[in-house]
Symmetry: C2
Subunit: 346 residues, 2 copies
Amino acid sequence: MTKKKITFADIAEYTGFSKTTVSRYFNDPDSLTVENQEKIAEALKALDYKENKLAKVLANGKTEFIGVIVPNLYMHYYSDMLSEIISTYEKYGYKFIVFAGNRAPEVERKYISELLAYNIEGLITLSHTLSSKELAAYNIPIVAIEREQQHVCGITTDNYMGGVQAASLLVKSGCDIIIHVNSDIPESMPAYGRISGFKDFCEEHKIDHRIILTDMGNNFEENHAGILKLFKELENEYPKKAVGVFMPNDTHANILLNIIFEKYGKLPEKYKIVGFDDSPISREAVIPISTIGQQVSIMADEAMKLLISQMDEQKKRRPKPLSKPVNKVITPILIVRETAKPRSVS
Amino acid sequence: MTKKKITFADIAEYTGFSKTTVSRYFNDPDSLTVENQEKIAEALKALDYKENKLAKVLANGKTEFIGVIVPNLYMHYYSDMLSEIISTYEKYGYKFIVFAGNRAPEVERKYISELLAYNIEGLITLSHTLSSKELAAYNIPIVAIEREQQHVCGITTDNYMGGVQAASLLVKSGCDIIIHVNSDIPESMPAYGRISGFKDFCEEHKIDHRIILTDMGNNFEENHAGILKLFKELENEYPKKAVGVFMPNDTHANILLNIIFEKYGKLPEKYKIVGFDDSPISREAVIPISTIGQQVSIMADEAMKLLISQMDEQKKRRPKPLSKPVNKVITPILIVRETAKPRSVS
């Protein structure tokens, strides 16, 4: 950091080219012969030239920065998605400034102002804290993932189909009653589709079912207490029935599975469990959890494509705003493992 | 983004203050009365003024950016540490540009050049890919976490003490033989201390022990295959002995636990397991895993403090480089849960 800064003049002197030629190397390399490009590249190495992107950014406004807001990294789904998003660097070259925290709206607004102050080109948010209406008012390229996204572009899993798939698998695995547990999410959230898909399937096929909407807290201890209470209710109410439970995510499905193991040392025939997400915990559980897989890697890639198309538009002399937000829906994948499988297979 | 840019002149006109007063608001706010500060703050809001940090950065060189390189987010320990690091924003105000990927050295070098091109003020790395000698040559503030750190500042857990704690717990829980499984890590890595602490404790107390150093791969499937093989060996070699196993981390301890459950439906008396890290999976496992807890939140905070002290030095007119790297060692915490506990307690 204390080294003298290398300038175009230094490079010109070292190579014997004019400063104009050196400048062309940076701005229009193909106007030079390959041989001359190589000579300059070698000189940059020899002189230990450091590109100053910030200076470039002020000139052309392209920071190559994308802001990412995740609610937390405790839920395996979020750390999984973040991992896939930042891995797209190899493909698209964008850099990610990351904030985490499922906090008060004013904190999230502060995150966004910080990001804007650094001239991010776009924002990916997995957090539910601010309404899409408020996000849209920032007037920058945004992609929301699996959250309310009426006024901004977004990527969601086809949650409705996921609910149908989960209900169908539980029925095929021989349950007398099937139950979907979730928090009381508003209809505007994509995850609401899991509830309606589950419900519609059961009503259409006249399947004995129940939907339990309850808040299960925001950390492991609260989740565990809530799910233990739920399990005790199931034990009391359905002593003779085969009960299928569709949990809201794999983290919660895993907790239920462990509570059942604690009592029975195994998953007895009378219980079937389906999770959601296909996050690592579903494979790492005591027995592999059947789940509705979100195609996280495809979702991350589609989110980037959707964001890049908006960012490219912004770089045009007269950017045309989208007439309405684009929402892409990615099909979930039914992943049959040990906690619920069609009876013919078992 | 298409709005006209608000200048100091606009703010001056709106408030009736001079441009000098407006400028003082940004550079030395306390030189204004609180009343005048509030007037300007209201004007900024009314005019929808956006701070341009990039312009400021070019003027004073302080980007408030810290680069973070994690090997992956599959290992719970890394996503946990990343989460704690980015949470320090609330306390210290630094923003994090994050890269992930346990890749070839040239890829990691590319990450670092990218980060340098954005004038990061410092770098936190959890990746083992590049030697600390090479990292030190970048001549920027660096803190390494739990990796070889001979030539750069670093934070580690006291792994030697962790090895001693694990061995001691397994002995107290009534094992006939205790085994430490790890990969064949070089002595320069902090995690090597787990091996030597375990070994020294056993030799000193004349405890029947064994150390198995083997590569267990880089993803869940490889890990599972390797640990299944290990378990079969233990079953064959020690049919009548109580076997205590100290696994290299909680992710691997959980896999071993699940393999044992698959065979026995429980953790039989003859097996005891201790993990390392206290990552979420140790609580979320089928029965809670006894583990050596890395104090991740304290480590993240100490890493930031160590980095900030270097960054502050860099901002001085004549920064004095450290005469030698500072290495902070954080005491691990023995967390006794269900997979191994002292016999008197059980």
